[in-house]
């Protein structure tokens, strides 16, 4: 496979042909924010946080979907991009009921981390306070729609890795909700294998293990790499 050389934030980096700008930057220690992307899953291109400026292109491009090219010049953190990212995080925080102080994932949440990293110390938008249920019908796990950011990692991991396709999205627009099977309680789902992958990949406290109190839960996303490497290369590397 041939190698491409490109410039990211003023640094010259090399990447493999076919690699995305996101993963090339990541390999070189440049962390582009993201919430829907997760290595090992297909790309949704939905959170719009990893949008970057590519010289010569008028429109911002999602780093998770853009392939590297020779002599490409990429900027990942211009003031305009940072302003967009802050506003996207504010939109997410205002959309549902994210109350970090009483969340199982307090301290280990990707959305919370991102807000801190981007300097979102308050939300200028009106909170929407939607009335949303919490599904505790599953024996081991819970689903709190109040914390869901609709990144669809759970939908993808369940379909692509576990193969059960228990989850999907119902409704549309602001009424979109994650559902299991025909919208019945998770605990009644006939397709769920209780593997827990969805819980581990969820970036927020929307999917969680039961029996944990506030700020107790930590998620393990390394398992995905383990499974994918094992599946593709027959190497069981932990």
């Amino acid at each position: 496979m041939s190698v491409r050389t490109l410039e990211v934030d003023g640094r010259t980096i090399t990447a493999l042909e076919g690699q995305t700008v996101f993963s090339a930057a990541w390999d070189s220690g440049i962390r582009i924010p993201r919430l829907c992307h997760l290595g090992g899953l297909s790309e949704a291109g939905a959170c719009r946080l990893c949008l970057v400026e590519i010289e010569g292109q008028k429109k911002l491009q999602p780093a998770c979907l853009t392939k590297v090219a020779e002599d490409m010049v990429v900027n990942t953190a211009t003031p305009a991009l940072l302003a967009h990212r802050r506003l996207i995080v504010e939109l997410l925080l205002a959309e549902r009921n994210h109350v970090c102080a009483v969340c199982v994932l307090n301290g280990a949440c990707e959305l919370q981390d991102l807000a801190a990293q981007l300097g979102v110390d308050h939300v200028r938008l009106r909170p929407q306070y939607p009335s949303l249920p919490v599904d505790l019908s599953h024996e081991r796990f819970g689903l709190d729609h109040n914390r869901c950011i609709l990144c669809t990692r759970c939908v993808r991991v369940c379909d692509e890795v576990e193969g059960a396709h228990t989850w999907d999205v119902a409704g549309r627009g602001r009424n979109s909700r994650i559902i299991s099977d025909l919208g019945e309680p998770w605990g009644d789902s006939g397709s769920c294998t209780s593997c827990g992958k969805c819980v581990q990949v969820c970036p927020t406290g929307a999917l969680f293990s039961k029996g944990r109190t506030v700020a107790e839960m930590r998620k393990d996303r390394g398992f995905l790499r383990y499974i994918m490497t094992a599946r593709e290369k027959k190497l069981w590397i932990s």
């Binding site: 379909d159 999907d168 999205v169 119902a170 409704g171 549309r172 025909l182 397709s191």
Partner: protein, 166 residues
């Protein structure tokens, strides 16, 4: 809603057969999901959960995907229709001509229990705004009085309900 709604046994069988034939015509392919949902709704009036489950099995699709599709599109109904239906157009011209007020009026109307009231986007008769579609028939240049008369007409006709469900 635990069962697929039935009217008479024979009709039920017939509907099931029509649906089965429709799915077979599409080689039970998941690509045809939206077509099949259209057919199912035409037959049953709405899409109850057991019907969705049946369609999912037959088309070999995950149930959550079937519900995801059924709830994405406005025209699919998961609840049965009431005796009558009224769709108030809220396209730009109808909105400008007072469609919102008509919609509110319908919702507030004491006789609205028999009516499934909804808003629609542009039925393409902008020159005749505002438009309200009552039981499938478009009414042009609707006023509150006209609408009131239409509702009363149905009320006066009593519970014969001959034109229900169209």
């Amino acid at each position: 809603m635990d069962e697929i709604p039935q009217t008479a046994g024979a009709a039920h069988d017939e509907r099931e057969q029509i649906l089965d034939r429709a799915m077979a015509r599409h080689h039970n392919s998941g690509d045809a999901l939206i077509e099949i949902l259209h057919t199912a709704q035409q037959l049953y009036g709405y899409l109850p959960a057991p019907l969705l489950k049946k369609i999912a099995r037959r088309l070999m699709l995950p149930p959550s995907r079937v519900l995801g599709v059924a709830t994405f599109y406005h025209l699919f109904r998961l609840e049965p229709l009431r005796k009558h239906s009224a769709v108030v157009c809220l396209g730009t011209a109808c909105y400008e001509a007072g469609g919102t007020e008509l919609l509110e009026g319908l919702r507030q109307h004491p006789g609205s229990g028999d009516w499934s009231v909804a808003s629609g986007r542009c039925v393409g008769s902008c020159g005749l705004a505002p438009i309200v579609i009552c039981d499938g028939r478009a009414m042009a240049r609707v006023t509150a009085d006209k609408l009131e008369a239409r509702l009363r007409e149905d009320h006066d006709r009593g519970s014969t309900g001959t034109d229900a469900g169209h």
